[in-house]
């Protein structure tokens, strides 16, 4: 099932007479359970792509379909509701609420979905357990490492069974090994059917994805297919 379908999307930013192309005719289709990474230098359009996919900005050309529905066809209220139900965001900063425990931060996302507080808290604990984060549930963000905070932020972003997770440089501030555990967590979510789109310029993290697309000057500049079997690399010294 296609979760996200970006069809020839473009985004032009205007400021007075200045016209800057942020994204130019980009098409990308992401299925349930698929992990796609977008790579490219600063200013190549990675973040713009994510902002369009997440409905935070509207394309100036092309269409964005979420589970087959054109976002342009939804009113402001309908759009906000669809985005909140279907899409989770993770950014470089975890942005957890400091006065709530990790579990309460996750539970809050469920309560916003209309889940009763008690059930939300139980759901949050269950989710943290399933992600191997059960031990940190009762701690406040200030008592967590950067990596743990980011993992809790991911749990919060996917709480309530959202079908699409958009992650913009979520490992930017983390060391190599912690960054890797965050990638492991994203992979794990894909296994449950969630689609993930990651924007990063860290190729080691992009390599966790099923597919890596390259952006340059707002355009798609290439892509790797789904990964080949390991035998293609090792033993033969060949890469397909």
């Amino acid at each position: 099932m296609v979760v996200l379908d970006i069809e020839g999307a473009g985004r032009v930013f205007r400021s007075g007479r200045l016209r800057v192309v942020g994204l130019d005719d980009v098409s990308l289709r992401v299925s349930a359970g698929e992990f796609v990474a977008a790579m490219g230098p600063s200013g190549s359009g990675k973040s713009t792509l994510l902002r369009l996919a997440g409905g935070l900005e509207r394309p100036t050309s092309g269409r964005i379909l979420l589970a087959g529905r054109d976002l342009a066809g939804l009113g402001e209220a309908g759009l906000a509701e669809a985005l909140r139900r279907e899409i989770g965001f993770v950014f470089q900063e975890a942005n957890l609420l400091a006065s709530l425990t990790a579990a309460e931060n996750v539970a809050l996302a469920l309560e916003l979905d209309g889940v009763k507080p008690k059930a939300a808290m139980a759901g949050a604990r269950g989710l943290l357990d399933s992600l191997g984060l059960g031990a940190v549930g009762g701690r406040f963000p200030g008592q967590l490492s950067g990596g743990e905070q980011q993992q809790v932020a991911i749990a919060r972003a996917v709480a309530g069974g959202r079908s699409l997770l958009l992650a913009d440089e979520p490992t930017g501030a983390l060391d190599a090994l912690t960054g890797e555990s965050v990638m492991g967590l994203l992979r794990q979510r894909c296994a449950t059917g969630c689609a993930v789109v990651l924007a990063t310029h860290n190729v080691r993290h992009a390599a966790w994805a099923d597919r890596v697309v390259f952006l340059n000057d707002g355009r798609l500049a290439g892509a790797t297919g789904p990964p080949a079997g390991p035998e293609c690399l090792l033993g033969t010294g060949q890469v397909r």
Binding site: R187, V203, R204, G222, P230, L234, G235
Partner: protein, 192 residues
């Protein structure tokens, strides 16, 4: 890659046959560097000549190799000494890019992009192996795979740098054409 020291390291765990050393070496390094049997026996012969191992025939007449005290000392020195960086291995990719640029026969940016896709694809494969090694708790194999990951990472970042330099060069060249009065270096500054 030091076959000599790798064999000493394997022998430090106990005496064994030459053909076992080949399979043990390949298992330890995940078949990334296949060894041929001839290489193993030539190296063992040199180690024996240098007094770093001894060889004795077993009941079936097969040679069993054992590390000597001098062999252990040599192995210890290897672990204590950093791998020299003076010897830069010949890199086909770097050479290819240099000549792509010099010959004017190839679109250098396209060469860079094709390589990037291929390298990232290889990196995806290694990353999948890493996930498997992680769940199997195979630490030595994980370190080995990390080495491959970081080599590919370095290559891709270098390609990014090449691409950025090419783009800057093109912008500067374009500006120089439009404004011949601006010296090339200043055009470069303006574009960055």
């Amino acid at each position: 890659m030091s076959v000599r020291h790798s064999l000493l390291a394997l022998l430090s765990a106990g005496p064994t046959h030459g053909y076992r050393l080949k399979t043990e070496f390949e298992a330890a390094t995940g078949d990334v560097w296949p060894l041929n049997v001839g290489q193993v026996y030539t190296t063992l012969a040199r180690l024996e000549r240098d007094g770093l191992v001894t060889a004795e025939a077993d009941a079936d007449g097969q040679k069993v190799y054992e590390i000597t005290g001098a062999g252990r000392d040599e192995l210890g020195r290897w672990f204590e000494t950093p791998v020299p960086r003076e010897m830069i291995p010949r890199q086909e990719l770097a050479i290819k890019l240099v000549f792509a640029m010099q010959s004017g026969m190839a679109d250098v940016a396209a060469v860079v992009q094709r390589q990037r896709v291929a390298t990232v694809r290889a990196l995806q494969d290694v990353t999948r192996l890493k996930a498997a090694a992680e769940s199997a708790g195979n630490l030595a194999w994980l370190l080995m795979l990390d080495a491959l990951v970081f080599q590919a990472d370095a290559e891709v970042r270098w390609l990014d740098m090449c691409q950025a330099r090419l783009a800057r060069e093109n912008t500067a060249a374009g500006k120089a054409r439009r404004h011949p009065e601006i010296p090339a270096e200043r055009a470069v500054e303006r574009s960055s």
